[in-house]
C-alpha cells in the first residue's frame, strides 16, 4: 500500500472516528430520549402537565390475569404459546353515565370481570351476577378480548367475546343482565382470535363485526392432533387463522361475507381497527399481522380491496401487534401506529408510525413510516398502544404497553428463539422443534412508554416521570375518563399480571371537551362517527371506535384537549349515515351528549 505516513495516520484516526460514531449517536439519542427521572407528582404536573397514579386497589379492583394452560404437547414452549389473553375494554353497559371496565381471563375455569363504575371512585365486579363471568369453561376455549357495540340498536352495548375457542355474542338486556345469543347469531363453532372490531362497513345503520383469526380455526389448542401449529415463517407466514366479516342482517343474525367481499387473508392477525382514512365516508380496515406484513383494506361500502403494498404499509414484514389511529399533527388526517419487536442487539424491527405522505389523499393515499423521526420507534417487545391527549394540551399522546414473557430475570430465551426463527418452515412450523423455555424470560420486565407529543413532530418518553414504573407484561391498553373529570385515565391489562388503573391528574389550566354521540339513522353506538374540532386555527379529528389497539376498546366518548384559553370555533360531526352536523362554539370543560339529527 502506498500513501504517505501522514495519510496513513490520518486514515487510522478517521477509522477510529468511524468506530466512535455509534457511541456518539447513542449518547445523543439518550439525551433526546425523554425524561427518565422519577419525580414527585407536583413536579411532573409542572413539567409535563399531568401525572398518573396507579389506584386499582383503592378503586376496589384486584384482578389478576391467568394465562391458559394448553395441550401438554406444548409444554416446552407453553410460556410463548400462552402469552396472550389479557385484555380490557371500556363500556357504559348500564347507561348510567359512568364508564365501566370489562377484563378477560384466560385459564380454563377462570372468570372474566365487569367492573361497574360506582361513581364514587370505586368499582364493583358484577360480571357474575350479569352472566358474563364464567365464560372460560372447558371445551369452549378461553377469552382473549372483548368489544362492545349495540348491534340491535336498542340503546345498550352488547358484548362480543373474542376467544381462542367458541366465539360468543351476549345481548345486553338493558343493563340488567346478558343473554348468550351466539347460536342465534350464526357464529362459527370455533375461532382462535385475538382481535375483533365492530364497524358498520356498508353504512346500513347496523353494526357489522370483523373477527380476525390468529391460530388456524381447525386447531383446538387443548386437544392437539399435531404439534405443527406454529407459523411456517417468522416473516411471511400465511398459515394463520382466517378472517370473518359478519354482516349484520338486522334480525339478530349475522352472515359471513368476508370472502365474497374480498377479505381472504390467512395471516396471523393480532390487531385490527377501522376508520375512514380516505374521506370516502366508509370505514377502511387496517389489520396488523404477526409474522408478516400489515394489511390495509380500502372499503367502498360494498367490497374491500387490499392495498397494503400500494399504500406502503404492507411492504416490510414485522410482528404487528397493535393498530391505533391518531391525528397526531392536528391536520385532520390519521396516523396509524403498529407495534412490533425491538430487542437490543438481536432484533430491531422498530414500531411503525404510518403517516400519510404529503400530497397524497383519497384512493392514492400513501404512507411512510416516521416512527424514528417522531421518536416512537423503540418500545421493546411492544403490544397495545393508544393515542389520547393525556395532558389536555391539544395534541394526542401515546401510551404503549410492552414486555413479552417475564420469568427468570437472569436467563433469556432470545438465543433459542433467534435460532429457530431463522430456520426452514419445516422446523419453525413444528412446536416440538422449539427448545424448551425452562423458565427463561423473553423480553421481560420492560419499562413502559408514555410518549408526550410536542405537537411539532416529536414525542418524548415521560413514563417514569409521570408515575408509570410498572414492568408487568403489558398487553392491552384502554383510555377513558373513568371519573368524569375531563381527563383521560389509563387502564392496562397485563398477561399473568394485575389489571392496572392509572388515574390521571392534569393541570387544570388546560381545557377539554368530551362528546358522547348517539346515532339514529346511523348505528346507535355511533361507531364510525367522525368529529373534527376547530380551535385556535387548528383542527383535530377523532372517530368513535368499535375496537382498537391490541384486544382493547377505548371509551366511545371522544375526548379533546385544547391547552390554555382556547377559542373553540366549531365541531363538525360526520355521522356514519353521511349526515353532517356543525356545532358552533361548543363550550369547553364539559361533556356534550349529541344525538344524530333526523
Amino acid at each position: 500500500m502506498k500513501g504517505s505516513r501522514i495519510a496513513r495516520v490520518l486514515l487510522a484516526i478517521f477509522f477510529v472516528g468511524l468506530l466512535a460514531v455509534p457511541i456518539v449517536v447513542k449518547r445523543l439519542s439518550a439525551r433526546r430520549a425523554g425524561d427518565k427521572s422519577i419525580v414527585d407528582a407536583s413536579t411532573a404536573l409542572a413539567r409535563h402537565g399531568f401525572y398518573l397514579q396507579e389506584v386499582s386497589h383503592a378503586a376496589g379492583i384486584n384482578f389478576v390475569h391467568q394465562a391458559p394452560v394448553l395441550d401438554p404437547k406444548l409444554d416446552r414452549i407453553m410460556p410463548e404459546v400462552a402469552s396472550m389473553g389479557a385484555s380490557v375494554s371500556i363500556v357504559d353497559f348500564d347507561r348510567d353515565g359512568w364508564p365501566d371496565i370489562y377484563v378477560t381471563n384466560s385459564a380454563i375455569g377462570s372468570k372474566n370481570a365487569l367492573y361497574r363504575n360506582m361513581g364514587d371512585g370505586t368499582f364493583k365486579d358484577v360480571a357474575e351476577e350479569l352472566g358474563i363471568a364464567d365464560v372460560n369453561q372447558a371445551g369452549t376455549g378461553v377469552s382473549t378480548g372483548a368489544v362492545w357495540g349495540d348491534y340491535d340498536n336498542d340503546g345498550y352495548e352488547d358484548l362480543f367475546l373474542i376467544k381462542w375457542g367458541r366465539p360468543e355474542l351476549y345481548h345486553n338486556d338493558h343493563g340488567h343482565g346478558f343473554r348468550r345469543v351466539s347460536d342465534q347469531a350464526g357464529l362459527p363453532p370455533w375461532i382462535n382470535a385475538n382481535s375483533a372490531i365492530w364497524f358498520d362497513y356498508d353504512g346500513d345503520g347496523l353494526l357489522d363485526l370483523f373477527v380476525a383469526g390468529y391460530y388456524a380455526e381447525d386447531i383446538d389448542l387443548w386437544h392437539l392432533n399435531t404439534t405443527r401449529i406454529m407459523p411456517d415463517s417468522f416473516e411471511y407466514a400465511k398459515n394463520g387463522g382466517r378472517k370473518y366479516l359478519f354482516h349484520n342482517l338486522g334480525n339478530g343474525k349475522f352472515k359471513d361475507v368476508s370472502e365474497k367481499l374480498g377479505i381472504e387473508s390467512h395471516r396471523w392477525t393480532l390487531a385490527a381497527a377501522a376508520a375512514d382514512l380516505r374521506g370516502s365516508g366508509h370505514p377502511d380496515l387496517f389489520v396488523a399481522n404477526d409474522y408478516g406484513v400489515s394489511e390495509l383494506y380500502f372499503n367502498d361500502g360494498k367490497r374491500f380491496r387490499e392495498v397494503g403494498l400500494q399504500t406502503g404499509v404492507g411492504f416490510a414484514p414485522k410482528s404487528g401487534m397493535n393498530a391505533a389511529f391518531g391525528d397526531i399533527l392536528n391536520q385532520g388526517r390519521y396516523a396509524v401506529y403498529v407495534s412490533n419487536i425491538s430487542e437490543d442487539g438481536i432484533l430491531i424491527q422498530g414500531n411503525n408510525l404510518w403517516m400519510p405522505k404529503a400530497g397524497t389523499a383519497g384512493d392514492a393515499i400513501q404512507y411512510e413510516n416516521l416512527a424514528r423521526d417522531f421518536g416512537v420507534e423503540l418500545g421493546g417487545w411492544s403490544f397495545g398502544a393508544q393515542f389520547g391527549d393525556l395532558n389536555n394540551d391539544g395534541t394526542l399522546d401515546l401510551y404503549l404497553a410492552n414486555g413479552y414473557i417475564s420469568l427468570d430475570r437472569n436467563r433469556s430465551y432470545w438465543y433459542d428463539f433467534s435460532k429457530v426463527a431463522g430456520g426452514n418452515s419445516t422446523i419453525i412450523g413444528d412446536a416440538k422443534n422449539w427448545p424448551a423455555f425452562e423458565g427463561r424470560s423473553l423480553s421481560g420486565y420492560q419499562t413502559k412508554r408514555v410518549w408526550l407529543n410536542d405537537g411539532a413532530g416529536k414525542f418524548i418518553d415521560v413514563a417514569q416521570a409521570v408515575g408509570v414504573s410498572d414492568t408487568y407484561d403489558g398487553r392491552s391498553v384502554a383510555l377513558a375518563d373513568l371519573w368524569n373529570r375531563g381527563v383521560l385515565d389509563v387502564v392496562v391489562a397485563n398477561q399473568k399480571g394485575p389489571l392496572l388503573v392509572y388515574k390521571n391528574t392534569v393541570t387544570p389550566a388546560n381545557e377539554w371537551m368530551e362528546l358522547e354521540l348517539e346515532g339514529t339513522a346511523s348505528n346507535r353506538s355511533a361507531i364510525g362517527a367522525q368529529v373534527t374540532l376547530f380551535w385556535n386555527g387548528q383542527k383535530q379529528v377523532q372517530e368513535v371506535s368499535g375496537g382498537s389497539g391490541f384486544a382493547a376498546q377505548n371509551d366511545r366518548r371522544l375526548h379533546f384537549g385544547f391547552g390554555q384559553n382556547p377559542r373553540v370555533e366549531k365541531a363538525i360531526i360526520r355521522w356514519p349515515s353521511g349526515k353532517l352536523q356543525t356545532i358552533d362554539q361548543p363550550a369547553t370543560r364539559q361533556l356534550h351528549k349529541i344525538k344524530e339529527p333526523a
Binding site: 500513501g3 449517536v25 447513542k26 442487539g345 438481536i346 438465543y415 433459542d416 435460532k419 422443534n433
Partner: protein
Amino acid sequence: MSQQLTAPVMPPQAPAKRTSLFSLDNRYIAPAFITCILLAGHLSFGILESYQKTLLAIVTAIAFELVLGRIFFHKWLHPASAYISGISVGILVRSPAFWPYALCAAISITSKYVLRVKDRHIWNPSNFGISAMLFLAPETVATLSIQWGNYLWPMIVIWILGSVIIARLHRFHITGIYVASFLAFAFLRSWMTGSPWQSEVAPITGPMYQLFIFFMITDPKTTVRSKRGQCIVVFLVALLEMVLRLRQIVYAPFYALFIVGPAAMLIEIWLDTRRANSARVAAAA
C-alpha cells in the same frame, strides 16, 4: 462477506476478444450472483426494508473504495469488490435507521486500508464491519436471519448457484468442510444441551447463512493460501462458533470468523516471514 471473490482475476486472453464479450469475467461472477440473490429475494419476498438503505450501503462502499484506492494505491480501483461489500451490508444489516448502513459500509471498506499486516488486510471487510456494528450499536442494528422467508426454494437456488460459482473458483472445499462441521457440531450441541436437533440445525437452513458460507468464509484475501490450511481454519471457525453457541451468543458465526480468520492470517504471515528469513539466511550462507 467476501469482497475479494473478485480478486483472483484470470488474465485476459488476448486473442479471444470476441469470446470475451460473451464469457463472464471472474470479477463479475460474485457481484452478479449476489445481485441475483438480492433481486430474487426482494421480488419474491420483499426482503429489503427499503431500496434506499441498500443503495446507501452500496454507494458508500464504492465511494470509500474509490477515494481510498486513489489515495493509497494511486489508481481507481475496480468497484466490483466494494459493490459486494456494500450489497452484503445492505442485505445483512437490519436497522430502522439509515446511518448504520452507511457507517457499516464505511467501516468495512476502511478496515481494509487500516488493519493491515505485511501489506495484507487480515479481516474480511464486511465481517469486520458487521461485527463492529453489532458490538458497538446493538440498540440500532441486528442481523437476525429472518428476512428471507423460511422456505426452501430460495435456498435451493442459492445452494445450486453458490456451489457452481464456488466450485468454479476452486473454493468449494471451504464451504463443504464448514457445512459438514456445522452439522456435526449441531448434533453434538443437541446431545449436550438436550435441545431438539432440528433447532440446532435450523440456523444453517436460513438463507442468510448461505451468504455466510458461500461468500464470507471463502474470501480469498482473508483466508490462508494452502488448501489444507483453509480446511483447518474453516473447521476452527465452526468449532469456535459451537463454543459461542453454547454460550448462547446469537451472532456466533460472525464473531467466530472475526476471531479465527485474522488469527489464521497472522499465523500464516508469521510463518511466511520466518520462511523468508530462513531462505535469506540460507542464501547468505
